[in-house]
């Protein structure tokens, strides 16, 4: 059953995309910055993990190291790029352009060091298949789905049950009030960038296990993820995740009727429809 | 029976759980200076936003000269003859005082690229006329000496006068002024009050949000007292100001 296989594949891809979406959503909802360079962290994570694994580091350690470095990278970006821009009262446009510049820098450093060709991950266990009826999944796919769902659950728990999570949500809903009630938004932003960057390193490492690494491959998933975030309602973690799965499913199912290279067209088309009819998304938080 | 000049009825506006305007309704008569007073948070700026199309009310309607304003965009409402100033001025800081006024003058040649590129001489000639018009408006508010100065170099009082010049430029007959006298020194205050009376003499109708009771007493023909999003009282300035119950609400105690 090709359709069912596509649905299953779509679910896995959607889960990974969902993690990208919720991590981006965390940043956007809190700092209001459209952090395009997030795609750079996503890409970097994969390459870092590959480097560690190529030097004999055990797989799990490589993943954790990549995540840790990703968190540091995110914090550094906030501290050394976004915070100074905020201090200089940079306009939204200026911050966007700076973020875009950073993305270009990150992608091209990777391309210069690792070449622009696709790099494969040396993980032999990854391509072993698991079968359920006529549906087949690689171990990588299974792992991706499980860990992504775990990340989603973890983020929900963090946002709603921890003090830092609540502080973040407070700042997100009213930065002005947060400033004058001494919630220290700037400090919160560093946490947000660090945590969100750490989260996005998960799909950043897992997705290339099957698809391979590419320096410029981060922008498309990021774009799809932001569409999911907007369609699901900015500020809604569940909305972002659910819409990511939905978009991935639609992209996969569309393979039944159109060639693969046009699947981004589908995503974009969906987005335009949403923009025209429901710009506030499906699950916008009531204020 | 003439339709009321400006009429708001049954306006409801809620922001989340906060009811900013509750069954708010009032009329404004032509040619009068009506002051809108009330404690902070009473909904005065909100009702301005509703009348001028910046905010869609949850329910209720506004009509001007018998025609409904419901659902109109801000630009259309200016075309209909109503213009407003902002409490926080919102002047174009990087433009000169003159340019701030010229921008607000209605339909000029060269406001779209095709005309600008293919009819430059016509545009230049029109611009000369418009700048003259703008100078006259600046003179009317007393700012002609500061025409070529950038807004950031004007004093606060001068900036306030400029906001009035800007609404005058639109040609609107009903002017909604949001705290035109607040934060001004005594001299600037007198200048503003004199200007408002001149505008009335010119045939303009003014709806003015004002906190300063001296200003209200001196220039208002009618006073509308707004409280908790609802019209609580209306009448002549002397009545409203001397009413102890209203003073209680406004000041939290007798004057």
């Amino acid at each position: 059953m090709l359709a069912v296989q596509l649905l299953v594949n779509g679910f896995v891809t959607g889960c990974a995309l969902g993690v990208v979406a919720i991590s981006f959503s965390l940043i956007y909802a809190t700092t209001k910055i459209f952090h395009v360079a997030h795609a750079g962290i996503y890409t970097l994570a994969g390459y870092l993990a590959w480097t560690f694994v190529s030097h004999g580091v055990p797989d799990i350690a490589a993943l954790l190291l990549a995540i840790a470095l990703g968190a540091l990278g995110g914090a550094a970006i906030q501290q050394f790029l976004y915070a100074p821009l905020e201090r200089r009262k940079a306009t939204h446009l200026v911050v966007l352009i700076a973020s875009l510049g950073l993305l270009a820098v990150m992608q091209n450093i990777i391309a210069a060091v690792y070449s622009a060709n696709i790099l494969q991950f040396p993980v032999p266990w990854g391509s072993r298949m698991v079968a359920a009826g006529s549906i087949r999944l690689t171990w990588t796919q299974l792992l991706t789905a499980v860990l992504s769902l775990a990340a989603y659950a973890g983020t929900m728990w963090f946002a709603h049950r921890t003090i830092l999570g609540k502080r973040i949500r407070a700042v997100a809903s009213n930065p002005f009030l947060a400033e004058i009630t001494r919630l220290q938004p700037q400090a919160v932003y560093i946490y947000v960038l660090a945590i969100a960057s750490a989260i996005v390193c998960l799909p950043g490492v897992l997705v290339p296990l099957d698809l391979g690494l590419q320096p410029y491959g981060g922008i498309t998933p990021l774009l799809t993820a932001t569409i999911a975030m907007i369609a699901g309602g900015v500020g809604s973690i569940s909305g972002a995740f659910a819409l990511s799965v939905l978009i991935a499913e639609l992209q996969n199912l569309s393979l039944l009727v159109i060639p693969g290279e046009w699947s981004i067209g589908i995503t974009f088309f969906i987005f335009v429809i949403f923009m025209l009819f429901r710009p506030t998304g499906l699950f916008t938080k009531a204020r | 029976m003439n339709a009321p000049y400006l009429q708001a009825s049954g306006i409801e506006v809620s922001f989340g759980g906060l009811r900013a305007l509750q069954d708010c309704g009032f009329t404004v008569d032509q040619g009068r200076i009506t002051c809108l007073v009330g404690p902070n948070g009473a909904g005065k700026t909100t009702i301005f936003n509703v009348i001028t199309g910046f905010l869609r009310p949850d329910s209720g309607s506004v009509s001007f000269r018998g025609k409904s304003l419901d659902g109109l965009k801000p630009q259309a409402i200016v075309d209909a003859g109503i213009a407003r100033t902002f409490q926080n001025l919102r002047l174009f800081v990087d433009l000169t005082a003159l340019d701030n006024v010229v921008v607000a003058l209605p339909s000029q040649a060269g406001e779209e690229p095709v005309g600008a590129i293919f009819r430059p001489l016509h545009v230049a000639a029109t611009q000369k006329r418009k700048r003259q018009e703008a100078m006259e408006i600046l003179a009317h508010v007393g700012l002609e000496a500061r025409a070529k100065d950038f807004v950031r170099n004007l004093s606060y009082g001068e900036q306030k006068l400029l906001t009035v010049a800007r609404v005058l430029a639109t040609g609107a007959e009903l002017l909604l002024l949001d705290e035109p006298a607040s934060g001004l020194s005594a001299g600037a205050l007198d200048a503003v009050m004199a200007l408002l009376r001149r505008l009335q003499a010119d045939g303009k109708t003014l709806l003015v949000v004002e906190h300063n009771t001296r200003v209200v007493q001196q220039i208002a023909d009618d006073v509308l007292f707004l409280h908790q999003g609802h019209l609580m009282a209306q009448g002549a300035p002397a009545e409203i100001i001397s009413d102890p119950a209203l003073a209680e609400i406004y000041f939290g105690g007798a004057i």
């Binding site: 200089r88 200026v94 352009i97 950073l102 974009f268 | 630009q75 200016v78 800081v93 600008a116």
Partner: protein, 287 residues
């Protein structure tokens, strides 16, 4: 000598693109990474008309310009009805979608191999074949465009756009149609991009998707950022400077495998540096 002519012609074409980007990003404040897509559409339209001997240069040129005007209007109109950040996503999406079309629609655009052998431009029946003649054509186009830009910025339209950049609400409160002004700016930007595309196609006599991808859009942004936003001078300095950079880079003996990445890396660094330390560029106004 031919080499110098090439540099000048290319720089002049990019001046048109800078004017276009400046109108959209610098003046109307719309973040755009899809300028290259519109540039590409203009180029492919002229290429198609000339190669299939359907129309002469001038009519093909005018159709391309008109087509790009319409394209820009269609692209910005729905997105302008919603918040600026949603347009960021739209802009990325348009650019990626365009690259997908340019690369995969083999019948129309020649696909990844592009369209070689585009005939030189002909004016009043006479073909302009020497580089010198084409440079003259490009120079004329550049001068005319600069004059048009200057006229537009001096006119009430330019003043209104400047006011809109400062405070849209106040402009609306003054009775002006903000949406129409922004869309007009986008339309004009489209015209400039389309004209640039036509010149590019006939100048190079070959077009392929790599000239019109996201990296190209980033280059255009960099030209505006470095040259300076919103001014005519900035729009001229930016391209001439940025196009001279690759030549300077060759002096540093970077291996050809990473030359492209090195260039893009440099653009990214320039974007970040200027946004942090000199947002007004060399000869512009603060973004």
């Amino acid at each position: 000598m031919d080499f110098l002519f090439s540099y000048i012609a290319l720089a002049e074409i990019y001046v048109l693109l800078s004017l276009s980007t400046n109108l959209l990003v610098g003046i109307a404040g719309i973040f755009s990474v899809s300028q290259a897509a519109v540039f590409g559409v203009g180029a492919y339209i002229v290429a198609w008309f000339l190669m299939n001997n359907v129309l002469g240069f001038v009519p093909a040129f005018l159709i391309a310009a008109a087509g790009c005007v319409v394209l820009n209007i269609l692209l910005t109109l729905p997105a302008l009805r919603v918040s600026g950040d949603y347009f960021v996503v739209t802009s990325f999406g348009i650019q990626l979608l365009a690259t997908a079309v340019f690369t995969n629609w083999t019948t129309g655009t020649g696909g990844a191999n592009g369209l070689p052998g585009i005939p030189p431009p002909d004016l009043f029946g006479k073909a302009l074949e020497s580089t010198g003649q084409i440079v003259t054509l490009c120079s004329a186009a550049m001068v005319l465009s600069c004059v048009a830009f200057w006229l537009v910025m001096r006119a009430p339209f330019g003043r209104m756009l400047r006011a809109i950049r400062e405070d849209e609400l106040a402009v609306a409160a003054a009775g002006k149609n903000v949406l129409r002004a922004k869309v007009s700016a986008a339309a004009l930007a489209g015209a400039f991009a389309g004209i640039a595309g036509g010149l590019y196609a006939t100048f190079l006599s070959f077009v392929d998707p790599t000239s019109f991808d996201l990296d190209a859009s980033i280059l255009m942004l960099t030209m505006v950022v470095v040259g300076g936003a919103r001014t005519l001078t900035g729009s001229i300095i930016g391209p001439f400077l940025l196009l001279a950079l690759p030549q300077i880079l060759t002096l540093i003996e970077i291996p050809t495998t990473i030359a492209a990445a090195a260039r893009q890396l440099l653009y990214g660094v320039l974007l970040i540096a200027f946004m942090l330390f000199r947002p007004q560029g060399l000869a512009g106004e603060k973004l």
